[in-house]
Amino acid sequence: MKNLHSEILFNRPVNDRYWKMAVDVTALEESVRPGQFFHIQCSDDWRNLLRRPFSVYKFDRRTRILEFLYLIKGSGTQALMKKRPGEMLDMIGPLGKPFSLPAGDASILLAARGVGVATLHALAQAVPAEGRRAIAIVSAQKRDDLLAVDDLRQSGAQVYAVTDEDGTSTMDQVGKLAEMLIEDYGISAVYTCGSKRLAKLMQNLATIHNLYAEIAMEAHMACGLGDCYACACPIRKEKGIEAVRICSEGPVFPLRQAVLS
């Protein structure tokens, strides 16, 4: 974990709402793992005082090039969009607990909606090296928003894309699709990000099929380090529901612990 000033290698639109940025993190000695994030200063304008958290989308261990996929949401991401290659990005990371895989070499299922796919993509990219395969259900409102599908395929994942536009993304349909995939591919673990409803569905399936399951959670953050308790959210622990810090105790949690109502 370091406060880096990393050179921006590229920063370009993927479609009209999403952008991709790559930075050079050779200054970082430690490894960067799927599920972790960087806390980024989007501008030095005091309209965007706080840093914003962005997940690792892609990390190349050899070239030490790190990529983010980000949604243009408000003033921070609007400012980020304006950064040019060659400029330096002020970021702290890698932060947070990464995903973990259960033992064995069974395939894993990823279920993402919207920009949640950014976080899961890093996992898809990592598993082939462990001799495993990732199957991904990618859900979005519109076909244009089906993000990272090509990137996922290139990383060796099998991708099932569903959209509201096509009427293929109801919980019913996704549930059936997931059931089928779990059986067909002998899935041993599920990972989800980006939608509460999707997470609930996966929580049920994981219980029923006794699968290892994790979720990557989101919360507004101040420090990003674990000091301020700004990001604390309810999580189901042995002793009952506790407020835990998403930034340092998460963002990845066992899916069964997620409080999704």
Partner: protein
Amino acid sequence: MTWRPDLSVKISKLMLKNPIMPASGTFGTEMSPFIDFNRLGAIVPKSITLNERSGNKGPRICEVEGGMINSIGIQSKGIDYYTEHIIPDFAKYDVPLIASISGDTIDEFAILAERLTGIDRVAGLELNISCPNLRNNGIAFGMDEKTTNELIRTVRQVTDKPLIAKLSPNVTHIQDTALAAEKGGADALTVANTFLAMAIDTETRKPKIGNLMGGFSGPAVKPLIIRLIFQVHQVTSLPIIGSGGAMTGQDVIEMILAGASAVQVGTANFMKPAAMLDIIDEIADYMMRHHIDKIADLIGKIDLE
């Protein structure tokens, strides 16, 4: 050649090597990879309560122009965990530890103060009397002079540690609560806690803070804090710790000129984890540029002609 200006200041019995300390709630051990704690003037961990508290529902913070609003709700593991873990964690640093305590009743403050008085490593107590409490219909202790006085008087009876009252800025005349704290036996005053504020998301029409209102901090509040420090400095000779909007060494100098003896840094830590060290360097640079030997000579030295 290598003359370095003297940054040391005194807060009651506490000798600080420089005027910079973290603001309670914005600092913790997780910052240690970024900052050498030994370089700080003091350490102020997050406010502690008697019993465990889970804090407020989210979102607990939101960003606003020039600052942020927080409503953490003092999530705390209680005093036992604090004495067993937090204090020992900081004990390895050669820096005075100021314990910030908070309670729903005056008794809770007193019990906490008593327990911490027994611990050598605790150099002083900061009383967070400026957060809403249960007894008085959501009104902070620090918004009322009588309650402020009673609270400090009660705590004063159980401890000989330096007592720092953290005042509320949400009052008509801060001079009144400052004097009430002084008369109650406070050794120093922190000016001040956060400003009660609110923000609404116009897209969803929902409050941006789960708890509706919260405390406003960051650069935007500095002109209010400078005024409050000046007003308090005019009526009391107690040392003042400025708190609110210090982002740079220059901001700290401004607070010192207004009457502060030391300054807490809060929101700036979130922007730059090493902010406090940069600020200390900027203070030293300012002093060298202006040929000021001792920072203590600048306290309250605004030039009013």
